[in-house]
Amino acid sequence: MSSAPQWKNPVIRWVDDRLPIFTYMDHEYQQFPMPRNLNYFWNFGALASIVLVVMVVTGIMLAMQYTPHVDHAFDSVERIMRDVNYGWLLRYIHMNGGSMFFIVVYIHMFRGLYYGSYKAPRELLWMLGVVILLLMMATAFMGYVLPWGQMSYWGATVITNLFSAIPIVGDWIVTLLWGGFSVDNPTLNRFFSLHYLMPFILIAVVGLHVVALHVSKSNNPDGIEMKGPQDSVPFHPYFTAKDSVGVGVFLLFFAFFVFYAPNFFGEPDNYIEANPLQTPPHIVPEWYFLPFYAILRSVTIDFFFIPAKLMGVLLMFGSILILFILPWLDTAKVRSARYRPIFKYIFWIFLFDCIVLGWVGAKPAEGHYLIIGQIATAYYFVHFLLVLPILGKVETPLPLPASIAEPVTGGGGGPGATAAKMEKS
C-alpha cells in the first residue's frame, strides 16, 4: 500500500524525479492510512481548512473595495453592500464565515477533548492547534473593527485597553496598539494591515499542524493506535468521500445563514457608524469571545498585590494558555472518553460550563450573572488544574479493544462488541 508509485506519464515522471510533488500527494493524500473507525466528528478539521480558504478568497476581494480610513470605512462597506457586483454576497460570506470558522474549530477542539486527541504522541499537534486558535482570535478581533461601526469602535477600545493592566509597560503597549492616544485612524490602518497579514501566518501554522498530523496520524474514537493494515483505509477514496459529505452538509448550514439570516450573529449597533462621543448601552464582543469575556469580567476584587483588572486579564489569557499544558495536566493513559467512565461525564460538565460562561458573557456583569460567572470561571480552572490531574490517577478505565478492526468488523466479543454498539448510537 505504501510502495512508491511508478509514474507512466513522462512529464509527470520528469517533474517528480526533480521535485516529488506527485509522490508526496500520492503518499499523503491517496495512500495515507486513516483509522477506519472515524466518525463524522473527524470532518471538522477539513471543514476548518475550507472555511479558511473561503475567508482568504472573500477577504482579498473585499479588500479591493474597502477603504481603511475613519471617514470612509463605514461608507465603503455599505458601498460594497449596495453598489459592488455581488458585494453583498462577498461581505455576508466573510462576515458569517468568521462565525462558521469558530463553530467548526470549537467542535474540532471539543472532539479532541472528548477523544483525548491531545495526548502522546500528539502533544505538538494539539499545541499548534492552540496557536491557530490564538491567531484566529486576533484576526477575528481586528476584522470586526474594520467596518467601523459602534461595536467595532467600542469593542476595540475595551479590548485594547486591557493591555494597560500590564504593569510598567502596559500604557506603552496600548499607545503602540492605537498608534496614538485613542482608537483612531492609525489604529484602523494598522488593524487592516494586520488583519490582512495574520491569515497568511495562520496558513503557515495550519501547514505545520497538518505535517504533525501526518507524522502521528489521526486519533480515533477508540483512542488506540492503528496496529496494521486491517485497522486502516487509504485516505482516498474513503475519506475524500466522507469529508465531502461533511462539506455538503456544512455548506448547507453556512448558506442558510448567508442567504436567510445574514445578520443573525451580528449586533445591530454595528450598523451605526462609530461615534467616539457616544458609548453604546451594552458593549458585547462577538459570540465566540463571550466565554472569555465572562472570565475577564469575573474578577471584582484585588488578589494581594495583583489589581482586579490585571487578574481578569491574566485569567482570560490563562484560560487559553492553559490548553498548551493540557497534555500534561491530563494524567490518564487512556485517551478516549468511551473507555473512561467518569471522564465521560466530566467532559459534558465542562462543555456545559463553557456554554454557561458564554451566556454570562452576553449579560451585564452584575447581580446573579456576576456570581454565576465567577463560579463558572472557577470551575473552568478547577477542571484543568484539579479534576483532570486527579481523575487520571483514581479513575479505572474500561478494558480497551485489542485493535481498531475488532470492534468495527464486529469480530470478537467483549469490549469490542460494546464499542461497536456505541458507535451506532
Binding site: 467542535i107 472532539r111 445574514p262 445591530p268 451605526i272 462543555l351
Partner: protein
C-alpha cells in the same frame, strides 16, 4: 457527541425564539411584513407610499444618505420619473471653469439630498437633538422593522407618575421612553396618490417597508439566489452521501 449538537442547537433556538425587547424591557409586537420569510419580497405599492411619507414627513429632518435617486428603480419607477423626482432637489456642484461652486438640479446618480448641511445645523434646527440618518434604520435597531413600526405608533400619554421633559414626547417603545421626535404621523397627514386611506398605522407600515428596503436593497436578490444555492446543495449533498455509501460499502 450528538448530544453536543442538540445542546448547542437548543441554545441557538432559545436565542432565536426570545422576543426582541426594547431597551426599556418592553416587548416589541411582531407585525406581518411582505418581506418576511424565505420568499418574502418588498410590497412595491407600500414602498411607493413609503417614499411619499418619507418625502412629505421625514425628509424635513432625517437624511437617507446611503440612497441614490437611481435606487428608486427598485420601487418600480421609470427612468423619467426618477429624473423628475431627483430634479426637485438642488445639489452643490463644481468648481466650474471659473472656479466657482454652483447649484444644479439633482440627477439620478446623486445621493438623496440631506435636509441639513451638517450635524451641527441639524441639532440647531431640532432643539439640540440629532435626527439620525435613516438609511440603515431597519438593521441598526434591535427588533428591526417591528421596532420601527412600534416606535411610530407607540406615542401615548405618559403613564401617571412619569415626567416628560420639555420638548420631549413619551413613547412606549423608545429606550428610556423620552424621545426628542414629536409624533411624526397623524391620520390623513399625507394624501396618498393611490387613494389608500392614510391612517397612522398604514403610514407606519408603508414607511417601514420603504426604510427596510433602504437598509437592504439587495434582499430580494439574496433570497432568490439563496433558493437556488440551497436546492443545488441539497441535491449535491444527496449525491455525495450516495457516493460515500457506495465507496464504504466494501470498506468494512
Amino acid at each position: 457527541m450528538w448530544k453536543a449538537i442538540k445542546t448547542l442547537a437548543g441554545a441557538a433556538l432559545l436565542g432565536l425564539a426570545s422576543p426582541a425587547l426594547a431597551a426599556g424591557g418592553v416587548e416589541i409586537p411582531k407585525q406581518e411584513w411582505s418581506f418576511q420569510g424565505p420568499f418574502g419580497t418588498y410590497d412595491r405599492a407600500a414602498m411607493q407610499r413609503g417614499l411619499q411619507v418619507y418625502k412629505e414627513v421625514c425628509a424635513g429632518c432625517h437624511s437617507v444618505g446611503l440612497l441614490h435617486y437611481r435606487n428608486l428603480a427598485d420601487l418600480g419607477y421609470t427612468a423619467d420619473q426618477i429624473r423628475a423626482f431627483a430634479a426637485e432637489n438642488e445639489v452643490e456642484d463644481g468648481p466650474n471653469g471659473e472656479g466657482e461652486m454652483f447649484m444644479r438640479p439633482a440627477r439620478a446618480s446623486d445621493r438623496f439630498v440631506k435636509p441639513f448641511p451638517n450635524d451641527n445645523a441639524a441639532r440647531a434646527g431640532n432643539n439640540g437633538a440629532l435626527p439620525p440618518d435613516l438609511s440603515l434604520m431597519a438593521e441598526a435597531r434591535v427588533g428591526g422593522s417591528n421596532y420601527l413600526y412600534a416606535l411610530l405608533v407607540g406615542y401615548t400619554d405618559p403613564p401617571a407618575g412619569s415626567e416628560v421633559m420639555d420638548g420631549m414626547s413619551y413613547n412606549k417603545y423608545f429606550p428610556g421612553h423620552q424621545i426628542g421626535m414629536p409624533p411624526p404621523l397623524s391620520d390623513e397627514g399625507v394624501e396618498y396618490a393611490d387613494g389608500t386611506k392614510a391612517t397612522v398605522e398604514q403610514q407606519a407600515i408603508d414607511i417601514t417597508t420603504f426604510l427596510t428596503w433602504a437598509s437592504e436593497p439587495n434582499m430580494e436578490e439574496r433570497k432568490a439566489m439563496g433558493l437556488k444555492v440551497m436546492l443545488f446543495l441539497l441535491v449535491f449533498t444527496g449525491l455525495l452521501i450516495a457516493v460515500k455509501r457506495k465507496i464504504w460499502a466494501n470498506g468494512h
